[in-house]
Structure formats: structure tokens, C-alpha cells
């Protein structure tokens, strides 16, 4: 793992993406393929099945250092990362000459913990720690507990593999999509020359992602060059009709098979060798709009939905693109042609497979007016797609835009804060906000983003000086500061103390001009949720 530790260090020491890409490409060149495969896997965000709990790590640390539990907790609060807390609190280990390769850690060592009981795991962890230098203690713990978070996006990893293999980025993105399994052969195969049947198999096509439209739509040119559709608020999915079966992939490139049997059944009737891109929505028959996202949420969690759930929240695929037909990769063909083929393909499979309707308008003002109906139609706004565009890979600006409606806003009071993690470790950056229910403030939203670094520092200092009570890492603070929050949707919820749940809350601005009595009331939110 020494070589990987050096790579990690190089990645951690620069904020330049070019330098990170070069460092990874160099590593792929030098490292044995078995190690390079695992490095690519974990740098791309892959994780092992967890084999030891955070509690076991803490217990091992307490046993190894003799420090009290509360002191370990205090340190963790300051560091914001358990793997690093352990590395910083332990005495420096003695590596000696033995270097255990990365793939042995990933394939043998870390998985072996699962065959032991709790006490055995703690003993083995301590044994490993004693034989490792600090940077490798940190890495071993990181690999054990979750993602590396070293400023490498999946896209950057793909670019690095492309640079190393001297192949196009889009091809590598496709080869690494889906559940790419690390191994020496699999890694070497990434660099193999392109084949004609490259796209066959179980891997999904890399999703094409839209960018938010920040300018006015008339900057896009002629309205007639664009396809406008509703921006559906569901789950993006790729439905692959391959061989005898159907595969369903999420946008996070996880298999959703079994969760949406209606869609699988309908897709099974399609001719083999076709791939649809679309949105899974919960939609009751005879309704002219989908159910609220919460209905779909119940379906996502259920691997084998029962009859009641299937009846309460039936799903359908609102298909908007066709990536493959008759085993042929259509992605380079223009959207207009793909859509025409898609319309013919799903014809007769409604309502479970439907073509996402196009919205016709003669000019941009007309389209803007239709966009105003988004909320009543339970959509998030409009999608604008250039009719002659190919289906690209990843988030590439220019051809696909999401033109969302403006978010809802509310003014709420900061009532709790807790320390953040990673880059924000040791700072109070996880905030809970409340609105008025009579003369008490009831929590309605948690938000982590929206303030700049200066505001975060200022608020952190204020929180430390104005803490009322501590509940573990959470502090309640004096009700003083009002923030304007934005959110995408609001609905009635029995699971929330306030009785309402807001989606995607984030901070718009710190309203230093407002006093706490200017904050919104729960009544107003309830009316919004039920209306």
C-alpha cells in the first residue's frame, strides 16, 4: 500500500485537477494491474462492504491508547473524520520492510474482519495499526469505513484512465459504468482496443446530464431548434432490454432490478437489444399528474413490493430517449431521430411505458408561460434539448438544459448546529432551522450549504459563544439569526415533528436585516403543503 499512499498524498497535496490526473495516470502506469484496479475503484468512489463498525474502531483506539471515550469523542469532533482521528491519536507505527499490496488489503485483509467476532476484529485492527506508518493507518481506516474524498470525481478518474490507456474518455466512461469490478484482468481490459460490440453486455451507457439554464432562454436561439419537455421529479433510470431479460440502472449506476416489476414486465415485451432513458414516476391511473415524490420514495426502498404498495403507488417510465435499438448504439444520431424511433417503440405500451410529451410553443414567451404551470403539474420546470444533438456522456454544457421553476423560500431561525465533516470538520456547519408555532420555534429544515467561507467562520464563532445546551455534538443556540431558505417542494409528513417535510432545503442568504419575529410560521407552511 506504500505506493498507493504516495499517490494519495500527491492527490491530497494539490487542488489542480490536471496535476491529480497526471498523478493517477502515472500510478496506473507504474503499479501492478491488481493494485491499479483497486486504486481506480476506490478513487472512483467505490467502497467495500463494511466489515468493522465505527464503534469497533473507537473501542480499538481506546484500548490501544488508553484514552477515555469522552476524549476520543472530543478529538473526533475536532477532526471530523474517524479514520484520521485514529491515525492522529496513535503513536507512529513501525512499518519495517513489509509492504502489504493494496489488492491484498482489499481482497484479503479488510474482508477477513467479517469472519471474526467483535473482540477479534478489535484485536486485528490494533495489530495492523501497530505495523503501519501514520499515513497508511489513515488509509487502511478510510478504506474500511467509506469513501476516500480526495477531490477526485468519477469523471476525473475516467480522464486519468483515458490518459493512461490513450483511449477516448467517453469509451472509458462506458467501460467503467455500472458495477465495474476491480481486478488485474478487468483493469488491463480497460486499455484494450475498441471493439464493434463494445456496448453489448450488462453495463449501462453513461448518462447524459443536463446543466441548469442560468441565462434567459432566448439566448439559445430559435425555439424551433429545441425540444421542450417537463422536468419530471422522479428517478432517472436506464431500462435495458437485453437477451431474455430486462435490466434497470439508476443514474447512480446501481441496479434497480426487482423494485419496479411493472416497468420490467412492460419492457420485456419490447424487442431485444434496446435501451431507454427516462424517469420512473409514481402515477395513479386516470390522474393527469404524478403522485408526490414521497410515494415513489416508498417504492425505492422496497426490493420486492407487496400488492398493497403496488396498488397504492404504481410506477411508470416516462421515456425520453432511445440509446440503442436492434443492438445498435444510437447515441451519435440526432435527438429528433432517436425520439421518433422511441415514440414508435413504446406505442401501445402505455401507460407503463410512455413517451415524455413534447411541449409545443411558437416562441420563448409562449414556452415561458407554459413553464408557469410546472408546479400544478407536479413537475420541476422544463427540459430544453437541442433536436440535432447526440446523446453525450456526463455533464456537457450546450445541448441539454434544465430550466427549473424558482424555488419556494421561507425565513427561518437558526436553532441547532453541529460540526461538519471533511473540509468543514471542526466548524459548526450543519444547521437546523425552525419556524414559529405559536411562541415556540419548531425545527422544519436542516441545511448545510449556501453560506460562503467568511459567513461560515463568523457563524461558527457566534455559535461557540452563544451555545445554550449541548446534546452530544449538537448544540442548541440562542434564537437570534434569521436565514432565507430555498426548497423545491413541501408536503405533509407524519414522520416529521413539524408535520411538514421540505425537499432540498438550502440557505439562500443570511437575513441580518430581519429579527426572529419576522420568521415564517408553521401554519403558513402547512397551508402551502396541503394546498
Amino acid at each position: 500500500m506504500r505506493r498507493f499512499a504516495r499517490l494519495f498524498d500527491a492527490l491530497d497535496r494539490t487542488t489542480s485537477t490536471a496535476a491529480k490526473r497526471d498523478a493517477m495516470a502515472r500510478y496506473f502506469d507504474e503499479a501492478p494491474a491488481a493494485d491499479a484496479a483497486w486504486a481506480a475503484y476506490v478513487l472512483g468512489g467505490g467502497k467495500l462492504k463494511r466489515t468493522a463498525s465505527s464503534t469497533e474502531l473507537r473501542l480499538a483506539l481506546a484500548a490501544e491508547t488508553g484514552y477515555a471515550d469522552w476524549l476520543i469523542d472530543d478529538c473526533y469532533e475536532q477532526v471530523g473524520d474517524l479514520a484520521e482521528t485514529v491515525a492522529l491519536m496513535l503513536p507512529e507505527g513501525d512499518e519495517g520492510d513489509a509492504d502489504v499490496p493494496l489488492h491484498v488489503w482489499m481482497e484479503a485483509r479488510l474482508p477477513s474482519l467479517s469472519r471474526l467476532d467483535g473482540a477479534g476484529r478489535i484485536e486485528l485492527l490494533r495489530e495492523w495499526w501497530r505495523a503501519l506508518p501514520r499515513d497508511q493507518v489513515f488509509l487502511a481506516n478510510k478504506l474500511l469505513t467509506g469513501a476516500l474524498r480526495v477531490g477526485v470525481s468519477h469523471r476525473l478518474l475516467v480522464q486519468a484512465v483515458a490518459q493512461w490507456s490513450n483511449l477516448p474518455t467517453d469509451l472509458i466512461a462506458h467501460r467503467m459504468s455500472g458495477d465495474w469490478r476491480p481486478g488485474a484482468t478487468a483493469f488491463t481490459a480497460l486499455a484494450a482496443p475498441e471493439r464493434a460490440d463494445e456496448h453489448a453486455g450488462e453495463r449501462p451507457y453513461p448518462f447524459f446530464l443536463a446543466s441548469p439554464l442560468e441565462a434567459l432562454p432566448d439566448t439559445l436561439g430559435e425555439v424551433g431548434d429545441w425540444l421542450a419537455e417537463w422536468k419530471w421529479d422522479g428517478i432517472r433510470a436506464q431500462v435495458m432490454r437485453r437477451g431474455d431479460g430486462v435490466l434497470v440502472w439508476s443514474r447512480g449506476e446501481e441496479r434497480l432490478d426487482g423494485r419496479f416489476p411493472e416497468i420490467e414486465q412492460a419492457a420485456a415485451a419490447l424487442p431485444p437489444g434496446c435501451v431507454l432513458d427516462g424517469e420512473v414516476l409514481a402515477w395513479t391511473a386516470n390522474e393527469d399528474h404524478p403522485q408526490l415524490f414521497a410515494a415513489l420514495q416508498k417504492r425505492i426502498g422496497k426490493l420486492k413490493p407487496g400488492p398493497k404498495l403496488l396498488a397504492d403507488a404504481p410506477v411508470r417510465l416516462m421515456a425520453y430517449d432511445l440509446l440503442e435499438q436492434g443492438g445498435e448504439d444510437l447515441r451519435e444520431r440526432p435527438l429528433a431521430e432517436r425520439r421518433q424511433r422511441l415514440a414508435a417503440l413504446v406505442d401501445g405500451h402505455a401507460p407503463t411505458l410512455m413517451l415524455s410529451p413534447s411541449i409545443d410553443a411558437v416562441d420563448w414567451p409562449g414556452l415561458t408561460a407554459v413553464r408557469g404551470e410546472s408546479r400544478t403539474r407536479r413537475t420541476e420546470g422544463l427540459m430544453l434539448k437541442r433536436l440535432d444533438s447526440p446523446y453525450r456522456v456526463g455533464r456537457k454544457r450546450g445541448d441539454w438544459w434544465k430550466w427549473k421553476v424558482d424555488p419556494y423560500t421561507l425565513d427561518a431561525v437558526l436553532i441547532y448546529a453541529q460540526p461538519g465533516h471533511g473540509r468543514r470538520s471542526g466548524l459548526f456547519t450543519d444547521y437546523t432551522f425552525g419556524v414559529w408555532d405559536g411562541d415556540t420555534l419548531v425545527p422544519v429544515a436542516k441545511a448545510y450549504s449556501g453560506l460562503d467561507d467568511k459567513e461560515i467562520d463568523r457563524l461558527d464563532r457566534w455559535i461557540r459563544a452563544h451555545t445554550r445546551e449541548r446534546f452530544g455534538p449538537v448544540r442548541s443556540v440562542e434564537a437570534v439569526h434569521v436565514f432565507e431558505l430555498a426548497f423545491e417542494a413541501i408536503q405533509v409528513s407524519g414522520r416529521h415533528k413539524s408535520g411538514v417535510a421540505v425537499r432540498f432545503p438550502r440557505i439562500l442568504r443570511w437575513r441580518t436585516d430581519k429579527a426572529i419575529h419576522d420568521a415564517d410560521t408553521l401554519d403558513a407552511l402547512r397551508r402551502l403543503a396541503s394546498g
Binding site: 497535496r13 477515555a68 476524549l71 492522529l88 470538520s425 459563544a465
Partner: protein, 340 residues
């Protein structure tokens, strides 16, 4: 009780028996100042007692018109009903612990201190006492400083790397103490390297040289012609220069920060520096515990905001430790912006 020797007041830490303040926040009649950092040495008081090793720096900070009484380390002088002496704290040049003998006991206020070797100042001297007032800037066991030789290895490696890549290396660090410590270590490794200094550091670096400390040769950045290429060179600047227009002439620079806070990865990533170098002029966790033991004190008072962990740990281990504010009203001290 201990309040006859140490009594925190809104103006700062007061010694009733000796009628003087230590590092007062506001102007007072008689002050003993531990070191020249801005949050300890504040102008406006009528009379200052300081260590003579730091006289030049104190003049720089308190103004030429201030009345300074300089004392050699260990020299005893009488203030009110107490006998006072100053002892090296190892923090920066001229930094002192204050020993106060009176009312039948001895109190030592450490000021800021460190236990690691530093070529720019006299090493910390353990002073036995009954009451020990300690800082706790880095009062958690995650803070254990690597040997300076290792940090300088990393620094030199970074400079080599910058030279290879043809980019300037801008190292941010506090202008008093940290900058000179880095220069004093660096000159032993690369005696010929000329370091470029931000204007805020120039006079303080000169004050160290006048005190006889050997440092790398330096030139002010402002002496360089406009458009000069600083590729492969080291530039040192205070943290306040980061992100300022001053940085524009080092557009492609790799940036580093020398501070004890760099021990934690998240702290470095948050600040957005490419490299963090763990160099602190404060005691690390083992240094704090060692100093408490060395003091042989029967009671320990802890200053600085987040000292709760140190106090609780000491109490768990049978030491009578308390927050300094338990003796009176402490001004709201934030962790020092300088000298960490």
C-alpha cells in the same frame, strides 16, 4: 486562596499582591508582557516590564514612546508585595513565563510556550511552583508535533518540486516567530537560498537579525522589478495576504501554510492551501502534559477557549486543574490569530 496572586479582570489577568497586569487587553498603570504578539502586547499602558531578549520586538510593537523596563531572564524584581522574575517560554524571541512569589507561595504564568527546540529563542525553562497557569491552544491528543527536521525535509522537497515545475512557492506563516523560525531552519539546509519577503515581515525579520539570530538571506518582494519571474523561488507572507491583490504577481504559485492547525487534514483543505506544514510555536499535547508535571504545581489553571478537554483529562489523572476564569472574569479571549 489563589486569588491573591492571580485575579482575572475585564482588563486582563491581574495580580492583586503585586498590583500589576499580565498581558492586559486595555491600558493599565503597570503591565508585565510575556511576548510581542499583538494579542499579548498592546500599547497604551503607562509602564511595561518585559524580557530584555525581546526588547527590540517590543519596541516595534508597543511604539518607541512606551516606557519599557527590560529584565534579564531569571533576574528578580519587586512589584508591590511580590518578587517577580521572567523565564524563557520557548514561544518566540524574548517570550517569557512570569514567576510571581508572594503571599507565601509561587505562581507561574506560562504565557504561550512550546517545548520543541527552536534556534530563534531560548528554550522553555521548567520553573517549579505551587500554582501553574498554562495555555492550551492545542489541548487535544491529536496534536503531536513531528520533529522539525522532518517538516523541513518536507518543505525542502516542496521547494524542489516547485523548482522542477517552474512555479513560485508561497509559504504563508505568521510574521512574528514562525517566519523567523522557518528562515533559521532553512539557512542550515540551503545557506545560499534567498527568500523573498512580504512587506509585513521585513522589519520583524530585521529585529531578529539584530538580536543575533542567523537567518536565510532575505529581500523584500517590493525590491523586485515588476513582472519578475519567481519560478522555483520561496516567497513568505502573512496569512492575511492570501487571496489579496498582492498575490496576483504569483498567479501560478503553489501555496503552503505553516501552522499547528495543519495537523488536521480538513483544516488544510478548508483553507485551500496546496500544502500544510505542521510547525507550531505552541506546546502540543505531550508538551502540555510534560509542563504540568515539570511545574510540580498543586493547582493548575488553564487559559484559552477550548481548554475543557485538558482540564478534564488532568482531573481524571489526579491533577487539580481548573479554568483560569474560575478565579474571576476573563475577557473573551479568542484563540490567538498569531503565532500558532
Amino acid at each position: 486562596m489563589d486569588g491573591d496572586l492571580l485575579h482575572p479582570r475585564p482588563e486582563g489577568l491581574y495580580c492583586p499582591a503585586g498590583d500589576f497586569f499580565i498581558d492586559p487587553m486595555q491600558p493599565v498603570a503597570r503591565a508585565v508582557v510575556t511576548h510581542a504578539h499583538g494579542d499579548h502586547a498592546r500599547s497604551g499602558s503607562a509602564l511595561y516590564h518585559v524580557a530584555d531578549a525581546g526588547l527590540g520586538l517590543m519596541r516595534e510593537r508597543l511604539g518607541a514612546g512606551s516606557v519599557l523596563h527590560a529584565h534579564a531572564y531569571g533576574e528578580r524584581f519587586v512589584l508591590g508585595d511580590t518578587t517577580v522574575s521572567l523565564h524563557p517560554s520557548g514561544h518566540v524571541l524574548g517570550a517569557a513565563q512570569v514567576r510571581i512569589e508572594g503571599c507565601g507561595k509561587v505562581a507561574v504564568v506560562s504565557g504561550d510556550y512550546k517545548r520543541d527546540p527552536d534556534p530563534t529563542c531560548a528554550p522553555f525553562e521548567p520553573v517549579p511552583c505551587d500554582i501553574f497557569g498554562t495555555e492550551s491552544t492545542f489541548g487535544l491528543p491529536i496534536y503531536r508535533w513531528p520533529p522539525m527536521s522532518q517538516v523541513i525535509d518536507e518543505l525542502v522537497g516542496w521547494l524542489d518540486d516547485c523548482r522542477t515545475r517552474g512555479v513560485p512557492a508561497v509559504l504563508f506563516c505568521y510574521a512574528l516567530g514562525k517566519a523567523q523560525r522557518v528562515l533559521a531552519e532553512l539557512v542550515r539546509r540551503e545557506p545560499d537560498r534567498v527568500v523573498h519577503l512580504h512587506g509585513a515581515m521585513v522589519r520583524l525579520v530585521e529585529a531578529y537579525r539584530e538580536a543575533g539570530v542567523t537567518l536565510s538571506p532575505t529581500v523584500p518582494v517590493s525590491d523586485s522589478a515588476k513582472g519578475r519571474d519567481f519560478a522555483g523561488e520561496l516567497i513568505m507572507a502573512p496569512p492575511s495576504a492570501a487571496g489579496s491583490p498582492w498575490m496576483r504577481r504569483f498567479a501560478k504559485a503553489s501555496t503552503g501554510f505553516a501552522s499547528g492547525w495543519m495537523q488536521v487534514r480538513g483544516a488544510r483543505r478548508r483553507r485551500g492551501y496546496d500544502r500544510g506544514f505542521v510547525v507550531s510555536d505552541h506546546a502540543d499535547w505531550p508538551g502540555l502534559l510534560q509542563s504540568v508535571t515539570d511545574s510540580q504545581a498543586r493547582r493548575v489553571y488553564v487559559t484559552h477557549g477550548d481548554g475543557e478537554a485538558l482540564i478534564r483529562h488532568l482531573r481524571d489523572h489526579g491533577v487539580d486543574a481548573r479554568p483560569l476564569r474560575s478565579l474571576g472574569t476573563m475577557p473573551d479571549l479568542r484563540t490567538s490569530e498569531e503565532g500558532d
